[in-house]
């Protein structure tokens, strides 16, 4: 099926081909007949050999041979005879592999034979066969799979197999299969802490040297660059999961009253919390990697407040196995309060065997923070935030507002891990590599520039662990320059680099107060952040924005809103004039329980027939949604569920007061307005029109 040139059939060819075909047809028919009649004579078996020699893909013939083998071996008791019978089969496999070294049927037949354990394995013969085949094609993954099987079967130590990968790599650096096997073996040896493999630092230093040699010898071969990326990930991520942000954070003062806020304009110190007014306060915990095991025993929430019921921690990222970066609990405040009272809440996360990451490492540092909440008894008589539709004044420069002092930035404490990084080795190793690769950067190789950008970002992460984030800015700026270069150097992958660039840009914008303040204001009583017209394609570092109540991301190139689920304080969101192409892409917004105003206008919903987030969100196709009442409700109103299932699942989860959706093809479709009205009873404003 592969690699045959296109040629018109010639008459001479046709006659010969016809004869050849007739022979094959007879052979196949005969073998199948013998199979169905369970004929296992020497002659019959011989025919199957003839067939497999021509066509090793005739899988039923391999099955037949196994049955014949089992049938005939029963008669044998002499170990020599048995060994001879096994040898015959092994030889058939070798002949078949000569015809097609990638035949699944042939390789499996050999594995099956060895697993019968009827005679001792000739180790030399087996490894010899592999050597031969891998010399002809060093990338034959069937061969490598068989080699891994054989090594385990024969009890060959990983250290020896590691040497073999070294041999293959020394022969030819361009051997992705060998580098891959090396990565598997090294990981195992390190996990098992075998002799000579106790120190990650030592092993990875050696591997960096090895791969750097390869890269300098032949920078155009890809294998080394992929291997390097793996080494980098191994050395720049902390071994154990860490808490990197929370909201509220240590020292936050929340208040549920506006009046109090207006009065205290000079000694202003508390943040107005709409959720506190509604007596539900989210506490959000953000880890550097997905973890599970957050529950009442693994972390403690202490307060004089009466929380009404048990504290449950919920994962905010989509998950079915319980792991998530971002966790929340909703404190239900049951206290009655006569005038005004301050309460403090202390959250403690001790070292815990329960809280673990996917690799099994546990949370091994102790963290705690305390925040206060001020409850006012008459706070329910507040203004209705949505008696008019929210106006988004994107064109106004925020700096002219001068109201930034109303945001208590001192309370935001934007830092990364609350735990300091001890070893300097990481940082030194990264700096060394940056110097090395800078030597190659004039060659205009995209891999060099991409690797340099990654190294710089790894430096940023390593340097800022446990300390302020401001040092990240310099690294981010340099990385941004490399991504701009890459967009020109490698235009096919432009949108990949744009995504990377967006993440770095968000890092830069939020890593220090000075920059962040330029994008903030207060539209009383809510704080307001604006990141417009920045060509953002995706959101990053949302853990630094968990305090934000109004967010304007309009006029960007966003395809995704992943990350926004962490913004539990968000009341209004503007993502108009972006590139959102499906409702399924907006699933993170369904986790923001206080979201009341959403502007989706001028996106691309309804234009695309292919949904690229269909399986990322919860849907009936991935079995995350079983029965859905909303489907039934909509069917009753003649709304086509097959057409609108994604819109239905999205809107039924939101309690919006305001929705803008004009400028999307879906909004002008039949029945769409009915769908929205049916599913969002709380809606007051649709496309700036009042609904009654």
């Amino acid at each position: 099926m592969h690699g045959r040139p296109r040629r018109p059939a010639k008459p001479e060819d046709e006659e010969a081909a016809s004869a050849k075909a007739a022979k094959l047809r007879d052979l196949q028919e005969h073998v199948l007949r013998n199979h169905h009649s369970r004929t296992y004579t020497k002659e019959a078996i011989g025919l199957s050999f003839k067939l497999l020699e021509i066509n090793p893909e005739a899988y039923t013939a391999w099955n037949y041979r196994k049955l014949a083998f089992q049938h005939n071996i029963k008669e044998l008791s002499d170990p020599e005879a048995i060994r001879s019978a096994v040898d015959d089969e092994l030889r058939v496999v070798e002949v078949a592999l000569r015809q097609n070294p990638k035949s699944y049927g042939a390789w499996y037949h050999r594995k099956w034979l060895l697993n019968q354990k009827l005679s001792p394995v000739d180790s030399k013969r087996e490894f010899g066969l592999l050597d031969k085949l891998l010399k002809v094609d060093a990338r034959n993954f069937h061969g490598w799979n068989y080699r891994r099987f054989l090594a385990r079967f024969m009890g060959a130590p990983d250290e020896e197999e590691l040497k073999y990968t070294m041999d293959k790599i020394s022969d030819n650096f361009s051997n992705y299969s060998a580098w891959h096997n090396r990565s598997i073996l090294l990981s195992n040896l390190l996990i098992q802490q075998r002799k000579g493999f106790e120190s990650k630092q030592k092993i990875f230093s050696e591997e960096f040297e090895l791969v750097t040699q390869a890269l300098f010898t032949d920078p155009s071969d890809q294998s080394g660059w992929f291997y390097h990326l793996w080494l980098l990930a191994q050395t720049s991520t902390p071994d154990n999961p860490q808490l990197i942000a929370s909201w509220p954070c240590n020292g936050t003062k929340l208040s549920s009253s506006l009046l109090k806020e207006k009065a205290d304009q000079n000694t202003h110190s508390s943040i107005w919390s709409h959720s506190l007014k509604e007596r539900t306060v989210p506490i959000v915990l953000y880890f550097n990697e997905p973890v599970k095991g957050l529950n009442q025993s693994s972390l403690k929430v202490k307060s004089d407040l009466d929380f009404g019921k048990d504290i449950q921690w919920m994962a905010l990222s989509t998950t079915d196995s319980g792991y998530s970066n971002c966790w929340t609990t909703y404190l239900q405040i049951a206290n009655e309060c006569s005038s005004s009272q301050q309460y403090s809440v202390e959250v403690s996360i001790p070292c815990s065997d329960d809280i673990v990451s996917r690799s099994g490492s546990n949370h091994n540092s102790s963290v705690h923070f305390t925040f206060t909440m001020e409850l006012i008894s008459n706070d329910t008589q507040d203004i209705d935030l949505f008696d008019k539709p929210v106006a988004w004044n994107c064109s106004e420069s925020l700096q002219s507002h001068g109201k930034c002092e109303h945001i208590p930035f001192d309370q935001l404490k934007i830092t990364s891990a609350l735990v300091e990084e001890d070893s300097n080795w990481h940082f030194e190793s990264l700096s060394e590599q940056i110097d090395l690769f800078r030597e190659l950067s004039d060659d205009n190789s995209k891999f060099v520039k991409l690797t340099l950008a990654r190294l710089l970002l790894a430096c940023a992460a390593t340097k800022s662990r446990g300390r302020s984030l401001i040092e990240r800015k310099g690294y981010c700026e340099e990385a941004l320059r490399y991504f701009s270069d890459l967009i020109h150097l490698d235009p096919s992958h432009k949108q990949h680099y744009e995504d990377e660039r967006s993440l770095v840009l968000m890092d830069k914008l939020t890593c220090d107060m000075e920059t962040l303040m330029k994008h903030c204001s207060v539209s009383v009583p809510l704080n307001h952040v604006q990141f417009c017209r920045l060509s953002l394609t995706r959101i990053g570092f949302a853990e630094r924005l968990m305090w934000v109540q109004v967010l304007d991301l309009s006029h960007n190139s966003l395809r995704s809103v992943e990350g926004l689920e962490a913004l539990q304080q968000l009341v209004s969101l503007n993502i108009s004039n972006n590139h959102i192409s499906n409702f399924t892409a907006l699933e993170p917004l369904t986790k923001i329980i206080f979201l009341k105003a959403l502007d989706l206008s001028f996106n691309e919903i309804g234009v695309h027939s292919i949904d690229t987030t269909r399986y990322i969100c919860s849907s009936p196709f991935s079995h995350k949604i079983q029965e859905c009442e909303a489907f039934v409700e909509c069917q009753k109103k003649d709304i086509n569920v097959e057409e609108y299932w994604d819109a239905i699942l999205f809107f039924k989860s939101l309690k919006l007061a305001q929705l803008d959706i004009k400028g999307n093809a879906v909004a002008s479709k039949e029945n769409f307005r009915t769908l929205v009205m049916t599913l969002i009873p709380s809606l007051k404003w649709l496309n700036s029109e009042c609904i009654n």
């Binding site: 199948l32 039923t60 699944y104 490598w144 196995s321 027939s609 690229t612 990322i616």
Partner: protein, 317 residues
């Protein structure tokens, strides 16, 4: 549009319909054992080109059922060939195209597949025990289409697939197996159907996959290999399922696929100017479908069937 840069849909339809009848060439005989797969490739392509009615549905269904093994509940690649999950999935998929799942003893077929799950969550292809992540995908896809996923241990199935995840973010045929686009499609598809895509580092895998695009615009299956039209499906559908398809250049890929057509005789080949076959014709058209090429029905990237077929199976009560 540039000269030649068009989909020769009519020619491909004609090719598929005629190749179905040519059973006696050497090339066909050598593939005789996978005829059921060929039926799926040909018929799905016809449906994607809005021409499923070009074949006689009843005839097709009868032939499919002649590959059925009453004793085991599985399907063989052709009449008289042993049952295997590879062909069982194709049979179920073709019956879905025609909305004729009613001809099946659904529980019998589902049990055939479910019985092949092993202790560690993996699946064997048949009673002989070969394990491969291809079979994990096949099992989950088949059972999901038949609404019988409860017959297997889903968690174990997912954990086995995840154990085949490599350090480059990709997946191999078994634990430790090198990342390969075909195996990646199977693992990503299996995890998608099981609602477990969060096990994947989508940025890491997305980068590995987008680097499959070669200078000629085509996609290869792993580093340092040649582009091949079939990877237009394996790589593309994987990228779509993890929402990273915007990381490749779709225009260039479209051009590559169109250049692999035999516009005179119909059919698509693995590379420009090579011999065409049904397999590559399907994957070329499927790739175009995933890129929203006009005139081609959209496909579901996980179930590898037209979107309207999948929506009907899961949403119609």
């Amino acid at each position: 549009m540039a000269e030649g840069a068009e989909l020769a849909a009519d020619q491909h339809v004609r090719y598929i319909v005629t190749v179905e009848k040519k059973k006696d060439s050497f090339e066909s005989l050598v593939m005789e054992h996978i005829r059921l797969n060929g039926a799926y490739w040909g018929l799905t392509t016809l449906d994607l080109l809005h021409k499923l009615h070009a074949v006689d549905a009843a005839e097709v269904v009868d032939w499919i059922m002649s590959c059925y093994h009453l004793e085991s509940g599985g399907f063989g690649g052709n009449v008289g060939h042993d049952p295997h999950v590879l062909y069982t999935l194709s049979a179920v998929q073709v019956l879905c195209l025609f909305d004729r799942l009613d001809v099946l003893d659904v529980d019998k077929v589902a049990d055939y597949v479910a019985r092949l799950q092993n202790e560690d969550g993996s699946f064997s292809g048949d009673i002989w025990g070969e394990v491969d992540t291809r079979f994990s995908y096949i099992a989950l896809c088949t059972l999901s289409l038949l609404h019988r996923l409860h017959k297997i241990d889903m968690q174990k199935a997912v954990y086995f697939v995840v154990s085949c995840k490599n350090l480059d973010g990709g997946f191999g045929a078994m634990p430790g197996g090198e990342s390969h686009a075909g195996q990646i499609f199977c693992c990503v598809g299996a995890l998608a159907i099981a609602g477990s895509l969060h096990h994947i580092d989508r940025d890491l895998l997305g980068w590995w996959l987008c680097e499959r695009q070669c200078k000629d615009g085509g996609l290869n299956g792993r580093p340092e290999k040649l582009a091949d039209v079939c990877y237009s499906w394996w790589v593309l559908s994987s990228l779509i399922m993890i929402d990273r398809v915007h990381w490749i250049d779709k225009k260039k890929l479209t051009k590559f696929i169109l250049n692999c057509q035999d516009k005179e005789n119909g059919g698509i080949s693995d590379r420009p100017d090579n011999a065409v076959d049904i397999y590559h014709t399907y994957f070329g058209v499927a790739g175009l479908s995933l890129m929203e090429y006009p005139g081609v029905k959209p496909m579901d990237p996980a179930y590898a069937l037209p979107l309207d077929v999948v929506n009907r199976i899961f949403l119609r009560k």
